[in-house]
Symmetry: C2
Subunit: 328 residues, 2 copies
DNA sequence: ACCCGTAACCTAATCGATTAGGTTCACGGA
DNA sequence: TCCGTGAACCTAATCGATTAGGTTACGGGT
C-alpha cells in the first residue's frame, strides 16, 4: 500500500489532475498550491508508480540487455553491464537482463521494454534475430551476424585498426612469425581479428598462423597442441590471444615450454583488463573500454527511442587503444 | 500499437473478460469458445502487456539486483547475474540491474520491483541499508553489515569451513608460515576469511600474517611490499589470496621473487574461476559456485515474495568445495 | 453594465488486464 | 408449468498516472 497520487491529492485538498501537474512542473497551478502539494508529497514520501505511469505513457522505462551466455572474457561483461546501467539511470531508465534465448529463439516471456541493447551478438544465437525482428529500437554493440536483421544503432570498436596496431608492434619489435589464437569463431569481433590478421599477413608476405582452441580443453591438451606451434626454431614468435583469460593461459604454457614471455615470444591480448596490468610480466592489450562502450550503447539507444526507425543504422565508434606493456 | 486483449476479444466477438478468462485457463468459458479465442490470439500474435497486468495485480514481475560497483573478482559477478536471471525467468520474473547508490544511499529513481537481491553487500555502501529499509522482500547473498537492517532471506557460503580447508591443506603439505592476502576489508566474505584465519592460527599456535593490498597499487609497489613477507628464510610459505585476479597476480610476483609456486610457496585463491583451472600451474581455489549461488538467491526470493516478512531471515547454504590443484 | 480572456482548478477518459458481480438461458425436478 | 440451478457470458469497476476538455471566477476593456 504505497502512497498514490490520489492520496497526495486528497491530503492537499485538490484533484489528482492538479497534483500531477504540480508535481511534474507543468503550467496550470499557482505557485502557492504547487509548493504546498510538493511539500505534502515530500512529507508523505510519495513515489510515482512506474507502472501507472508506464501504462499511461505507453513506455515502460525499461531497456533489455542481451549478451552471450558464455562469458568468454572475464571482467568484460560486468563492466559493460555497469556502464549501460549507469548511463540508462541518468535518463531515468532501468536495465533488465534478458535470459539467453540461444536455442529457443523466442522472446516469449521477455518483459515489455522500450528498446534493446545487444552486446557481442553471436552468429548462431537464435535470440539475436528474434530481437531484431521486433519493431523496437535495438542498439547492437558489434555488428550482428549476416541475415539476423538490421539494428537501429550500431556501436563499433575499430577492430581492424587495433589488430593492425598489435601486429605492427610485434613486427617492429622483431617478430618474424606472428600468430593468432582464438577460442571461438562466432563473434564478429573474433572474425574481425582473424580477417584483419590474414589481410595483414598478405600485405607483409607472411604465412598466417591461426590456432583455434577451446575454452574447455585442458592445459595438457593445449600444451601438446601448441608445442609444435611454438617450437624454438621456426615456431611462432609473437601471438595475439583473444581474451584476457586466454592470454594468461598462453603465458603460462609458454613458460612451460621454456619461453620467456616478452622476449623469446611476444604476447598480447585482444581484451584488456586489470589482469593484464597486474600479470607478471604485464601484458600488452587492446583496451576495449567496456564501461565506456556500455554507456555509448545506452546513450545511443536513448536517442533512438521515440524516433522513427532510421533507414540505415546510426553508427558510433568507441576508441580501442593499444596499451603497450612488457609482454609484447 | 501492439495487439491488446480488447483486439483479441473484438476479433472473437466476446468481451475482454471472457477473453481474459479463456487465455488464462480459468473456469467459466466453454471449451469451444476457449479454443477459438486461443487460436485467434495465437494468429494475432497477442502478448499480454506486462504493464497492464502489473497495474492490476500490484506486482511488477521485476526483481532488482544490487551489487558492489567495484568488480573485485572477475568472472564472479557475470556468473552470479546469469544464475539469478535464469532462475527468475523460470518463474516469469525479470531481473533489473540497479545502479549503485553507494554514496547517495537513496533508492530514488529505482524502478518498482517485487523484491531485491543483494550480492556481497559492502559495509560502507549506503545503498544497502536504503534497500533493507523498504518494506519489500530482500534476499542477501552474504550477511549484510551490522546495522544495515535485516533481510528476509540469507544465502551463505560456508566461508569458515572452506577457509579452514585451505589452511589445513597448506599445513598438511608442509607449510609452516601460511599467510592471507586481501584486497579489501569491506565485504563480509573477506572479513570472514580473516577472522577464520586468525582463529585457525590461534588454534595452531601460529602468528597470523595478513597483508592488505590494494587492487590499484602497481606491481613494482606490491613486489617491494611483499618481498620481505616472502623472504626465502622465515618468510610466508603458503598464501591464500582473495579473488582470482589477485591470485594470478601473486603467482607472477612470486616467480619474480624466485619462488616456485606450488613448491617453495603454496598458493590458493578464495574464488575459483576458469582462470584458476587454466593458469600454469593450476591454482587451488574455493569454488563459490556463483551461478548456482545466484539461482539459490533467486529461488529463495521467489518463495518469499507474497509471504509475510519472517521474524528471522530464512537461511540457505550453498556449498563451496575446495578445488585442489598443483599450486597449493 | 456587459463581454471576453485567462489563470486555476476540476471532471472524466484513457492506457491494458483482471475480476467481482450481474444477466441470460437451458435444463432438470417437482 | 414453474422454479431452481448453474454454465456461459457480459458489464463495469479497479489498479495509478496523465491529459483533453470543461467550469469557475476574476479582472480589464469599452
Amino acid at each position: 500500500m504505497p502512497v498514490t497520487l490520489a492520496d497526495v491529492a486528497r491530503a492537499a485538498g485538490v484533484s489528482t489532475a492538479t497534483a500531477s501537474v504540480a508535481l511534474n512542473g507543468k503550467a496550470g497551478v499557482s505557485d502557492e498550491v504547487r509548493r504546498r502539494i510538493r511539500e505534502i508529497a515530500e512529507r508523505m514520501d510519495y513515489r510515482p508508480s512506474s507502472v501507472g505511469r508506464a501504462l499511461r505513457r505507453a513506455r515502460t522505462g525499461m531497456v533489455g540487455l542481451y549478451m552471450p551466455n558464455t562469458a568468454s572474457t572475464f571482467g568484460y561483461y560486468t563492466e559493460t553491464t555497469r556502464g549501460v546501467a549507469e548511463a540508462l539511470h541518468r535518463h531515468d531508465l532501468s536495465l533488465v537482463i534478458l535470459p539467453s534465448s540461444h536455442e529457443t529463439g523466442s522472446t516469449e516471456g521477455f518483459p515489455d521494454v522500450d528498446g534493446y541493447i545487444l552486446i557481442e551478438p553471436h552468429t548462431h544465437d537464435r535470440g539475436v534475430p528474434a530481437i531484431l525482428r521486433q519493431a523496437l529500437p535495438v542498439v547492437s554493440g558489434d555488428t550482428p551476424p549476416r541475415g539476423a536483421g538490421t539494428p537501429w544503432g550500431l556501436v563499433e570498436s575499430p577492430n581492424d585498426a587495433s589488430t593492425r596496431a598489435v601486429f605492427d608492434r610485434f613486427r617492429s619489435r622483431g617478430a618474424r612469425r606472428p600468430g593468432l589464437i582464438l577460442i571461438e569463431r562466432i563473434s564478429t569481433w573474433s572474425l574481425d581479428l582473424e580477417r584483419t590478421y590474414r589481410t595483414w599477413c598478405g600485405e607483409q608476405g607472411l604465412e598466417p598462423r591461426v590456432a583455434l582452441t577451446s575454452a574447455r580443453s585442458s592445459n595438457a591438451k593445449l600444451l601438446s597442441d601448441l608445442a609444435e606451434w611454438f617450437a624454438p626454431d621456426g615456431g611462432t614468435d609473437a601471438v595475439l590471444a583473444g581474451g584476457d583469460g586466454i592470454a594468461v593461459r598462453i603465458a603460462g604454457l609458454l613458460r612451460s615450454l621454456g619461453h620467456v614471455v616478452g622476449d623469446s615470444v611476444l604476447l598480447a591480448s585482444g581484451v584488456d583488463s586489470p589482469l593484464m596490468e597486474f600479470h607478471t610480466p604485464r601484458i600488452t592489450a587492446v583496451d576495449l573500454q567496456p564501461r565506456h562502450f556500455g554507456t555509448v550503447c545506452a546513450d545511443l539507444l536513448v536517442e533512438l527511442i521515440g524516433t522513427e526507425r532510421p533507414s540505415d543504422p546510426v553508427r558510433r565508434l568507441v576508441d580501442a587503444p593499444l596499451i603497450a606493456r612488457e609482454s609484447g
